[in-house]
C-alpha cells in the first residue's frame, strides 16, 4: 500500500480511537481500504488489458476481495500464504508489492518473478506470500508442507492456502487433508466457492446436496462454512482457525461462498455466453463485499462518504504509479533465459 494511502488510514484510525472500539475499528478501516484497493487495481488491469501489453492470462479477483482480505487480516507477518492462478487479491491482501505485481504482469524484469511467471506465478517473500501457481490444487500440499516445517521445528507460524471449489475435486486435496489431520498441521485450507470452474457449474462436478464441509470433517479436520462476501465474518472465522492451529489443535477447512464477476480468464464480462445468467450476476453484485462493507462502516460512523472519496483518490494515485513503474521497468535480457534453472 502506498505511503499516502497508509497515512490516510492511520489518520483515520487515530481519529476513531476515542470511540472505545480501537482494535476492531482500525482493522475495519484497513480491511475496507484493502478490499477497495484490490478492486481498483483489478479494474485498472481490466481497463488496460486491451492495450495488449499484459501478455499473459489474467484471472481477476473482482467480486472475491472479501475472502482474501478477511483471511489475511487474521494472519500475522510470519504466517505463510499460497495461492492459485486467481491470486492478485491474496498477494495484495498479504501485503505484496503492487509495483512488482504489475511489472510481473507486463513481463518485466522488475516484476516479482522477474518476468518468468506473469500473473499466474506471483511471489513476495518479504510478506510470506510464498507462491501462487495455476495447476488446480497444486499448491494445496505445498502449503501443508510449509505448515509441516513449522510443526517439525516447533514454531507457531500458520499457513493459509487459497483455492477454488474445483480444487476440491482433485485427489491431492484429499491426500493433503488426510496428512494434515494425521499430523495436526497448523494449516488453514481456504476454499473460495464461486460455483464455477471456468464455465462448468457445480452441478456437473459435485453431487447435489453434498457439503464440502462435511467432507473436511469426515477427513478429520475442523470445517466451517461462511459468507465469503462478508469480510468481518471471514475475519472472525479465520481468527478462530488461526488460534486453533497455533495452539496445536490442527488444521481447519473454510468453505466460503463468493462470486466471480468477470470471465474466468480475461478482463471482460461474459454472462452473455449463457453458462450463467445475468440475473444471477446481478444478485451477487448486490452482495458486493466492498460496497456492503462501505455501507456498514458508514452506518457505524467509522467512515464517511468523503473519507471514501479521499481513499479512492489515494489508491488511484498508487495504481497509476504502479503502471508507470511497470512501463519503465526493462524487459529481461536474452541471457536470463538460462539463469536460475538450478539453485
Amino acid at each position: 500500500m502506498s505511503k499516502q494511502c497508509r497515512q490516510f488510514i492511520l489518520n483515520k484510525q487515530n481519529k476513531s480511537s476515542n470511540q472505545g472500539f480501537m482494535t476492531d475499528i482500525n482493522k475495519s478501516i484497513s480491511m475496507y481500504a484493502g478490499m477497495l484497493r484490490i478492486r481498483m487495481v483489478e479494474e485498472a488491469i481490466a481497463d488496460r488489458y486491451s492495450e495488449q501489453e499484459m501478455r499473459c492470462p489474467v484471472h481477476l479477483s473482482i467480486g472475491q476481495e472479501g475472502i482474501a482480505v478477511g483471511v489475511c487480516a487474521a494472519l500475522g507477518q510470519n504466517d505463510n500464504v499460497f495461492s492459485t492462478h486467481r491470486a492478485h487479491a491474496h498477494y495484495l491482501a498479504k501485503g505484496g508489492d503492487l509495483n512488482k505485481m504489475i511489472a510481473e504482469i507486463y513481463g518485466k524484469s522488475g516484476g516479482c518473478s522477474g518476468g518468468r511467471g506473469g500473473s499466474m506465478h506471483l511471489v513476495d517473500l518479504e510478506v510470506k506470500f510464498l507462491g501462487s501457481t495455476p495447476i488446480v490444487g497444486g499448491t494445496i500440499p505445498i502449503g501443508a508442507g510449509a505448515a509441516f516445517s513449522s510443526w517439525m521445528r516447533g514454531e507457531n507460524s500458520v499457513t493459509a492456502v487459497f483455492f477454488g471449489d474445483g480444487s476440491t475435486e482433485e485427489g491431492v486435496f484429499y491426500e493433503t487433508l488426510n496428512f494434515a489431520a494425521l499430523k495436526n498441521l497448523p494449516v488453514i485450507f481456504v476454499c473460495e466457492n464461486n460455483m464455477y470452474s471456468v464455465y462448468s457449474p457445480l452441478s456437473v462436478r459435485q453431487p447435489f446436496n453434498r457439503d464440502r464441509v462435511d467432507i473436511a470433517r469426515a477427513m478429520g479436520l475442523y470445517g466451517v462454512r461462511g459468507d465469503g462476501n462478508d469480510v468481518n465474518e471471514v475475519l472472525q472465522i479465520t481468527q478462530t482457525a488461526v488460534l486453533r492451529a497455533r495452539s496445536g489443535r490442527g488444521p481447519t477447512y473454510l468453505d466460503l461462498d463468493t462470486y466471480r464477476w468477470r470471465e474466468h480468464c480475461g478482463p471482460n464480462y461474459d454472462n452473455n455466453l449463457g453458462y450463467r445468467t445475468e440475473n444471477e450476476f446481478l444478485e451477487w453484485q448486490k452482495r458486493c463485499p466492498v460496497t456492503r462493507y462501505a455501507s456498514t462502516l458508514i452506518r457505524k460512523n467509522v467512515l464517511s462518504e468523503y473519507d471514501i472519496t479521499k481513499l479512492k483518490q489515494e489508491i488511484s494515485r498508487e495504481v497509476e504509479a504502479a503502471f508507470e513503474f511497470a512501463g519503465k521497468s526493462p524487459f529481461p535480457e536474452k541471457n536470463d533465459i538460462q539463469t536460475n534453472i538450478y539453485g
Binding site: 511471489v123 495447476i135 494445496i140 500440499p141 508442507g145 493433503t176 534453472i341 539453485g343
Partner: protein, 352 residues
C-alpha cells in the same frame, strides 16, 4: 579400505547426513518397517525418532508436494519410493512444482529435495513394478538425476544429493543393493554431473549407467578376449550430463554403444547418440548403437523375461557386429548365458 554393500552405503550416507544436519528428514512408504526399504533405512527411526524418520500415507502426489513445501521453508527432505513406478503418481508435483519453483519465481526459493526410487527388474516383478523411467525424468529442466552403480558412488552421490539445493532424483537399481565394494568411512561426496571411466579402452566406448554398468563391464571382459578393448563410461549423473567425458572417449575410440535399462524409444541412450552425432560425428567410424529393452512393457513370465532384459552377451554381440565378428554362442566359456534372465545371479531366491 573396508567393503560395504550398496544398500548399506545408502544407509550410511543417510545416517551421516541426518546426524550432521537436523533439517534432514526421511519419509516414505515403509521407511521404518522391518525390511527397511531393501535395508537402506534400517535403524534410522530408532536413532532419530519418529518425527525425522517417517512412514507415510499412500499419497505419493500430496506427500511430494508436502516435501516440496517443507523444502521451501528450511527443511531437507528425502522422500523414498520402493518402486519408481509409484513415483508416477507424483509427477504433477515433481514436474510442475519441484522442477520449476526455483526458475519461475526467479531464483527466490530453492527446493532441496531428494527423491529416492528403486528401479525394478526380475523375479516376475512385471509391467508395473519393473520400470526405470529415467528418460522421462531427465527430459525435465530443473531436475537433477543421479544413478549410482557402485557402493562408493551410492554413498557419495546420496550425500551430494542431500547437500544439493535442487530437486535430485536418486535412482537405485534393486540388483545393485547386494553388491559389495570399497567405501570410505568419512562423509564424502561424489560430484553430481561427473561421469566415471569404469574401464579404459581404445576400440569402442560403452556409455552406460546403473545396473547396466555391471553388465557392460562383464561384456568388456569378454570383448577383451576378442582383442576389442572397450572403454566403459558409467555416467552416474544423467542431469547434469558430463558431455565431455562421453565426447572425449568417442573421439578416442570412434565407436559408440549405449547400454541402458530403459525402453529403446527416447531412452537416455538416444540422447547420448544424438549428442555424439552432433558434436563428434567426424570421429565416428561406424553408426552408433543402443542396447536397451524392446519397446514393450516388462513381461512377468521368466520365459518372456529372457527376451526382454539385455545382459552382457547382448552387449558383446552388438559390439562384435561393429567389428565384423560373429555373435557369441552358447558354447563359449565364461558366457554363462544359461542363467535365467529374471535373477541377478544364482543366489537370488525371491520373492521380493
Amino acid at each position: 579400505m573396508r567393503q560395504l554393500q550398496f544398500n548399506q552405503a545408502v544407509l550410511e550416507a543417510t545416517d551421516q547426513c541426518m546426524e550432521k544436519d537436523p533439517s534432514v528428514y526421511i519419509i516414505g512408504l515403509g521407511v521404518p518397517d522391518p525390511k527397511g526399504i531393501f535395508g537402506t533405512t534400517l535403524g534410522l527411526q530408532q536413532k532419530y525418532g519418529m518425527k525425522r524418520v517417517m512412514d507415510m500415507p499412500a499419497s505419493e502426489n500430496a506427500m511430494t508436494g508436502i516435501a516440496i513445501g517443507s523444502a521451501l521453508t528450511g527443511l531437507r527432505p528425502i522422500l523414498t519410493h520402493q518402486r519408481v513406478d509409484f513415483m508416477l503418481l507424483s509427477f504433477d508435483q515433481l514436474i510442475n512444482n519441484a522442477a520449476k519453483w526455483h526458475y519461475m519465481f526467479n531464483g527466490r526459493m530453492k527446493v532441496p529435495l531428494v527423491v529416492r526410487a528403486v528401479i525394478g527388474q526380475g523375479w516376475g516383478q512385471g509391467p508395473q513394478h519393473s520400470q526405470s523411467l529415467q528418460p522421462i525424468l531427465a527430459h525435465i529442466p530443473g531436475l537433477k538425476i543421479v544413478m549410482p552403480a557402485t557402493p562408493h558412488d551410492a554413498k557419495g552421490l546420496l550425500i551430494a544429493a542431500v547437500k544439493d539445493d535442487n530437486p535430485v532424483i536418486y535412482l537405485e537399481h534393486r540388483w545393485l543393493h547386494q553388491i559389495n565394494g570399497e567405501v570410505a568411512t568419512d562423509m564424502f561426496q561424489v560430484p553430481i554431473g561427473k561421469a566415471r571411466i569404469a574401464r579404459e579402452g581404445r576400440d569402442i566406448t560403452i556409455v552406460t549407467c546403473s545396473y547396466m554398468t555391471l553388465e557392460s563391464l562383464k561384456a568388456a571382459e569378454i570383448l577383451a578376449k576378442d582383442g576389442i578393448r572397450a572403454e566403459v563410461i558409467d555416467l552416474r549423473s544423467l542431469k547434469p550430463l558430463d558431455e565431455d567425458s562421453v565426447l572425449d572417449s568417442v573421439k578416442k575410440t570412434g565407436r559408440l554403444l549405449a547400454a541402458e535399462s530403459a525402453w529403446q524409444t527416447l531412452s537416455f541412450s538416444t540422447e547420448i547418440l544424438a549428442l555424439v552425432s552432433e558434436k563428434a560425428f567426424g570421429a565416428l567410424k561406424c553408426a552408433p548403437v543402443r542396447v536397451t529393452f524392446p519397446d514393450v512393457p516388462a513381461p512377468t513370465s521368466p520365459a518372456l523375461a529372457n527376451h526382454f532384459y539385455p545382459r552382457f552377451h547382448h552387449i558383446v554381440n552388438t559390439a562384435r557386429k561393429l567389428f565384423g565378428l560373429a555373435p557369441c554362442t552358447q558354447n563359449e566359456p565364461g558366457l554363462a548365458a544359461d542363467i535365467p534372465l529374471d535373477i541377478p545371479d544364482k543366489s537370488f531366491k525371491g520373492p521380493f
